[in-house]
Amino acid sequence: MALKIIDTIKKRLEERPNELIKARKEGQKVVGWQGYNIPEEIIYALGLIPIRLGVGGDDRLVEIGARYISTKNCVFCRETVGLFAENKDPYIQNTDFLAFDATCLQTYRTAEILQYYFKKEIVILGVPRNFYWPEAKTYFTKEVEYFTQRLEEHAGVKLDSNKLAETIELYNLTRKAIIKIYDYQATKERLISWEETYDILQAGYFLDRKEYLGLLEEVLEELEEKQGRPVIEVDEDEARIFISGSVIPPGDKKLIDIIKEVGGRVVGDDLWSGLIPYLNVEIEDYTPAGIALAYINRTPHGALPYLDLETDRRIIRMKELIKSFKAQGVIYHTLRYCDPYTFKAKETKDVLQQDGIPLLEIHTEYAVSDFEAIRTRVEAFVEMIKNKQ
């Protein structure tokens, strides 16, 4: 039984491109961004409209993008370039300038290609790889302050501390709401699925953030009214799957649809395009520096190498989430040439095996040629989990 509010969110998403056209006519600027460490709060507080760019699942756009970037780059990067090359997507058409970060080196390269071939103005945010060092935090703080200055130049205004504080409160509430909805999707009642939750989460990157918070609160009201407090329990005959690994952007439905089709139930994720950026964002000081520290102290992105397996916060967080969502197996999704996650697949499998959690790696692209091969493997994995109960 779908929640009524989900239809409203879908409708608002359909209306959003025209709203952006109108806003731009009225003088507002739209910032298309991509990355893991872009402090969206600063963009929003400056009166700019943040839109996270990038979709997946379209092999045709991948092919177009590969004419500019290489076939040895992940399909997400290639499709991003393809979007700009084709220039038909309304969000691409309606960005005034771009903001990319250097968390993933391929994202950084994507920005270079967009600058070179499509003459895009791009503000780039440097990200330290030794992110846990105090000196790295100082470096990142300086980067965020410089990033802010460059945004101010584009916006034509100075960052107002009151507006920033309001925005941080808004984003904090948004993060809390998303975490709560994630709890609901993992319950027995299944009033909302992980797939719907994920779509709602993605909607936030396109809709106005104030309106979006209101919609999230309505989702929660409807859930609380129908179900009360969420209690996560395992249902009989379930195969509860946790998704990890490479980005799954809007439009990339292949793996998720297969899991559903063969009787698996996704109950959680630690994707950088999913839940993980919303966790543990503790902004103590309401300044760009305070935001920088909070962002760099979050669960790190897999593209930032960490050299001690035992204390890797990304792995610790993944284990905690698997436990709290009561997942029974992990499908580790890796895109071809996504080295940050692909290189860790076997290691992650070995780590989870120690806790008795099975892991299946699905290494894929956006082409449909491997659909049946993936289905066979996922089906067997789901069956194995069900048989273990």
Binding site: R67, Y68, I69, S70, T71, K72, N73, C74, C77, A102, L105, Q106, Y108, R109, T110, E112, I113, Q115, Y116, Y117, I124, G126, V127, P128, R129, N130, W133, E135, A136, T138, Y139, K142, E143, Y146, P305, Y306, L307, D308, L309, R336, Y337, D339, P340, T342, F343, K344, A345, K346, E347, D350
Partner: protein, 462 residues
């Protein structure tokens, strides 16, 4: 396949001239005479490592045959003795650190370590097994690499020596590469060591900031801190303290090498007839990185001697061995792969320059002032690591100096960060120079497909 009939033999006729050339002087103060080098190359080497002496043109690493260039013989000697020298250094308590290629190694040596890039580590590992012919050695190397692919990913190009250090027994003490855009795999290869068997190997990432890094004061200071910490980590292995003066002294030594390499390149490029073949040119230019032999002092002694011979050849119009008349001159851009120079020369071409393993060499380090800051500023200024237009501007300068007729961009299968800008960089170069360009992707090992494309390009350049 090697057999005694197709092994390279240094001609006795050159012996007397060669043994009168300079000694090689090592970092630890020891030296080896040219006579001892000759004896090793002609008696010991062919027995221990017959694969190196294979004369097939299909083997890109074969000995160049330009036997009248003493540096070339001494370079081979230093490569052939890698295992002996590293074993000796280890016995003397000198730690060996795995780094990535194309980066300067001044701080590693300042701290009392030896920095070995992947190719040098590979050479050392291969020498752990003696008596193999070329076929046996190549099968063995492929098998060993497969172990790293299984432990990391088949999409890995650079595996940060995982196969030798974790799956093999190479006694490397530390893995500490720069994380620059030259190779993205090396950072994740480094990270993979955390799940390897050997827990005694230190892991350290020298974090290279991105985007206009050389112009940002905070980025320069952050990278300087990385250098400081790197040195501290090596100090923990040696039990010694490294001072700023030690680093300054090391920078001066490496600057001398870099400067000599640039002077040699200018000489080489100025010559009407290429004074060496492509293989010797590449070996010679790369010596300026001071890292290929695992002994900067030894490398420096080769550079000094080589310059005299190159000057002489240029002055007298003497061409390199195997170089055809009026060859098509090719400049190679891209990542850490290279075509077979011998077969390129057979086809009527010659490779006259490359950007990889050159951008770091052309970047001098300021010697006055804070050495950590100066080194950081220089490293962050590598032209190869700049944005497309800035990198292209420098590359075009090198192409013009080298008087190249065409430009190849090569990258290894799985190389994300170099492949990403291949098209844009060659488009910009084409725009600036009007030269023909070709992008080729291939796997690390030489292949017929790669060479077919290179040869067709040479033919087109005519």
């Amino acid at each position: 396949m090697s057999n005694s009939d197709n092994l390279f033999k240094y001609p006795e006729a050159i012996r007397d001239d060669f043994i009168r050339t300079e000694d090689i002087v090592f970092r630890d103060g020891s030296r080896v005479t040219a006579g001892e080098v000759w004896q090793y190359l002609t008696e010991v080497g062919p027995v221990k490592y017959p694969n190196i002496y294979d004369t097939s043109n299909y083997y890109g690493g074969k000995i160049s045959g330009d036997v009248k260039l003493p540096f070339s013989l001494k370079h081979n000697y230093l490569l052939l003795t890698m295992d002996d020298r590293m074993t000796k250094a280890k016995a003397n308590g000198v730690p060996v650190v795995f780094v990535q290629g194309g980066q300067s190694v001044d701080p590693y040596y300042a701290a009392g370590g030896i920095a070995l890039r992947p190719a040098s580590t590979g050479i050392w590992a291969r020498q752990k097994e003696e008596g193999l012919d070329l076929n046996q050695e190549q099968v063995r190397s492929a098998d060993v690499k497969e172990k790293a692919y299984r432990a990391i990913s088949f999409e890995a190009c650079n595996t940060a020596g995982y196969e030798h250090i974790q799956e093999g027994s190479l006694p490397v003490d530390m893995i500490a590469p720069f994380s620059c855009l030259r190779c993205s795999d090396v950072s994740y290869g480094l990270e993979a060591h955390r799940h390897g068997k050997r827990k005694d190997v230190k892991l350290f990432l020298v974090d290279y900031p991105m985007d206009h890094q050389k112009d940002k004061e905070w980025a320069v200071r952050y990278f300087a801190e990385n250098i400081r910490r790197l040195i501290q980590e090596i100090n923990e292995l040696t039990g010694k303290e490294t001072s700023a003066e030690d680093l300054r002294k090391e920078i001066k030594l490496h600057n001398e090498g870099r400067k000599l390499a640039v002077e040699i390149a200018d000489l080489w490029w100025s010559a009407e007839v290429p004074p060496t073949n492509g293989k010797d040119r590449r070996d010679l230019f790369q010596l300026g990185g001071m890292e290929v032999h695992g002994d900067p002092e030894a490398t420096l002694s080769l550079l000094k001697e080589a310059k005299i011979y190159i000057e002489e050849r240029v002055k007298n119009g003497i061409g390199g061995y195997g170089v055809q008349g009026n060859p098509a001159r090719i400049f190679v851009c891209g990542s850490c792969v290279f075509p077979n120079e011998y077969r390129t020369e057979e086809a009527g071409g010659i490779i006259v320059g490359n950007d990889n393993h050159w951008s770091d060499i052309t970047t001098m380090v300021e010697e006055e002032g804070d050495p950590f800051y100066n080194l950081s500023k220089a490293i962050l200024s590598y032209p190869y690591e700049q944005a497309i237009k800035e990198r292209a501007k420098w590359t075009v300068e090198q192409i013009k100096k080298s008087r190249a007729d065409g430009v190849l961009f090569l990258y290894c299968w799985g190389c994300n960060t170099q492949s990403a800008v291949a098209r844009a960089l060659v488009d910009e170069i084409k725009l600036q120079t009007g030269l023909p360009t070709l992008i080729i992707e291939h796997e690390g090992r030489g292949s017929e497909q790669l060479q077919n494309r290179v040869n067709a390009f040479v033919e087109m350049l005519g």
